[in-house]
């Protein structure tokens, strides 16, 4: 009897949306196929991608349809995975397992170095863990880019009867999906990072606040928690360390750390005034570390390889690698992990592969719905916190969305303001009122009845929101709008009433 051929196919949500689910259904009863459902490599423009083993490593077929099976089984026309330029030019550390392992196979995770970060953390003191993070110069990946060690130190030094570790899996920025990939594709890495944090600050309980739009992520994570629990490593100092997955209810501002904590407590997700910071007084008034999923997932490697290893990657103020997520009208949308410092142009050409067929470049937005727009003339900006801060921009959570020649910049600006008006939590006036006024003005311009005064009104409104808003939703919302006006003034003027 001939044995079935092992074929690897991703079970990632986006791979399934691209057709992997239909492939799996079509081949499910096929005697010659043994399908292994792995995480996705993040080269989504190639999904559904099917791979098989060869003595020289994995070989892949791209954009596969059910009819391609004979070709794949005969082993013809495949491409060696390591010669796919989109992947070969990346520096994968946090995403090293992607495309290689089954997300819930704990043994595979361990074979590939998983849990060695936690083991290293258990061998040293909490102070030494925090010192390792200080040396690493890791900054939070959720948007604010605050030094991680600093928050941990505060939480560690604050006395309390209980402390919490909360993973922010709200991933609200449209155009970002790396947290989703981690939750679905390498969930043990997140749990390992959370345990290391708990050990450092002395926490007894963990939560993952997962956006409701990610049902597969929540399900995978719950299964991973159960596996780690059964394997008896969901504990610290012999005490269980329970981690609960809590799903949100569709509010963008609940990704902001204090609104998230309100929501975890079951209340309206309204932003809390700071200080006190969550590290001092967070969930139920106890010291709480709220960090992004990607931040936690970066930590195991820092403990196992050392802080100095991490600090040696990237640029002066931005150490380590960044997970960029390409979307919009690029030819090659997907996940790109590279050290900080490449230019925006390099990323879009080298990895993005230029524009999608039939599209001409117009602008690119970095950092989600609150991020600035860049025109073609500003593409040499290096991707790192310092250069972006100098340009008045943010990297946010690493989302990069490319807009093409068909984009109506006035409508896009209206879209941004409408988003802020919809999502404002209402706690402070500049954002609550300003966003509604901003939307009205842009609707007026779009309808052809705006005046030149409306444009200066938008600037004034933007300036007020920037300085007077309580959180970054109101504070950053003017940036995409004002950069649209700055770089494409003719489009706005053309719609004004004369």
């Amino acid at each position: 009897m001939s044995t079935a051929t092992r074929l690897y196919l991703s079970n990632d949500t986006s791979a399934r949306a691209a057709g992997a689910g239909a492939l799996a259904d079509a081949w499910s009863e096929h005697p010659e196929v043994q399908l292994i459902r792995i995480s996705s490599r993040g080269a989504f423009f190639l999904e559904p991608m099917v791979e098989r083993d060869t003595p020289a490593g994995r070989v892949a077929w791209f954009n596969v349809t059910a009819q391609d099976l004979p070709l794949i089984l005969s082993g013809t026309d495949g491409t060696p995975v390591r010669s796919i330029p989109f992947l070969a030019q990346q520096t994968r550390f946090t995403f090293a397992n992607f495309g290689e392992t089954e997300p819930l196979a704990l043994d595979e995770y361990q074979t590939r170095g998983g849990l060695s970060g936690l083991e290293a953390a258990l061998r040293i003191t909490p102070d030494a863990i925090i010192e390792e993070l200080r040396v690493s110069q890791l900054r939070g990946r959720g948007g604010a880019a605050f030094p991680v060690w600093n928050k941990w130190k505060v939480a560690q030094q604050t006395q309390a009867d209980e402390k919490y570790v909360v993973a922010n899996a709200d991933e609200g920025d449209a155009g970002t999906y790396c947290d989703r990939m981690i939750l679905e594709g390498d969930p043990f890495r997140l749990l390992e990072g959370m345990l290391i944090c708990a050990r450092a600050i002395g926490a007894g309980r963990g939560y993952v606040y997962c956006r409701q739009e990610y049902p597969a992520a929540a399900k995978t994570l719950r299964a991973a928690i159960q596996k780690t629990d059964e394997a008896e490593w969901l504990e610290l100092d012999g005490e269980p360390f329970p981690i609960e997955v809590v799903e949100g209810a569709g509010s963008y501002v609940c990704g902001e750390e204090t609104a998230l904590l309100e929501s975890l407590e079951g209340k309206r997700g309204v932003v809390r005034a700071r200080p006190p910071y969550p590290a001092q007084s967070g969930l139920y008034g106890r010291p709480t570390i709220v960090s992004n999923v990607l931040t936690f997932a970066t930590i195991p490697n820092i403990l196992s390889r050392g802080g100095a290893w991490h600090a040696a990657l990237g640029t002066e103020q931005s150490r380590g690698t960044i997970a960029l997520q390409l979307g919009g009208r690029v030819k090659h949308p997907g996940l790109v992990e590279v050290p900080f410092g490449l230019s925006l142009h390099q990323v879009l050409e080298q990895f993005g592969g230029g524009m999608a067929p039939g599209s001409r470049f117009k602008a690119v937005q970095v950092g989600g719905p609150l991020g600035s727009l860049f025109p073609a003339s500003q593409m040499d900006i290096p991707i790192c916190y310092d250069a972006f801060a100098k340009a008045g921009a943010v990297l946010g959570h690493g989302g990069i969305v490319v807009y093409d020649h068909e984009t109506d910049m006035v409508d896009l600006a209206r879209h941004f303001m409408a988003f802020t008006a919809d999502e404002s939590c209402g706690k402070c006036t500049p954002c609550r009122i300003g966003s509604v006024r901003g939307r009205e003005i842009l609707e007026r311009i779009q309808a052809g009845s705006g005046t030149i005064e409306d444009l200066s009104l938008l600037h004034d409104l933007g300036d007020t929101m920037k300085v007077a808003s309580l959180c970054a939703l109101g504070g950053r919302a003017p940036y995409p709008v004002l950069t649209a006006i700055e770089h494409f003034p003719a489009e706005f003027r053309a719609k004004l009433r004369t």
Binding site: E171, A174, Y177, G250, S251, G266, K267, Q325, Q365
Partner: protein
């Protein structure tokens, strides 16, 4: 109190009470949150009616009316915007003859928008119930909608 409401609430009882969790659990089972149950919910959780209403009105996903048999959500996030989600939404509005937030005649589909499904690399995205569809063209909507009873 309605027996079903009571038994669902009994399962999510906690100290301190968690209003959002209770409402999500109820909605999961009932499909929506009946207005007339608000005071029962408040009573069962040991909080005020105003607190329950406050939470209920805050979160976009909490619904006071039952949606159609299937919930269609068109992603309006930036990657989907760049890839033509506007055309998809207009097409769906035309076909189903509804506006965003409304349920089509016959109660089969409710049309809504969402802000990002994390499917940006395979956009534009439409989510129907828990199924996700990517790289959608307006011309593919017919076949897609036919799959739903």
């Amino acid at each position: 109190m309605d027996e079903q409401v009571k038994s669902i609430l009994a399962k999510v009882r906690s100290e301190p009470p968690n209003i959002l969790k209770a409402l999500l659990a109820l909605q999961e089972r009932l499909g929506h949150l009946p207005t007339e149950a608000v005071s029962d919910i408040a009573h069962a959780l040991g909080v005020t009616t105003a607190q329950v209403v406050g939470v209920l009105s805050y979160y976009p996903d909490l619904r006071l009316t039952a949606p159609g048999r299937h919930l269609i959500r068109v992603c309006m996030g930036e990657s989907c915007y760049a890839n033509g989600c506007g055309r998809l939404l207009r097409e769906l509005q035309d076909r189903l003859r509804v506006d965003v937030g409304e349920t089509a005649a016959g109660g089969k589909f409710t049309l809504d928008t969402m802000s990002c499904a994390g499917n940006c690399a395979v956009s534009p995205t439409v989510m129907i119930d828990r199924d996700l569809y990517g790289r959608l063209l307006p011309s593919q909507l017919d076949i897609l909608l036919e799959r739903y009873e």
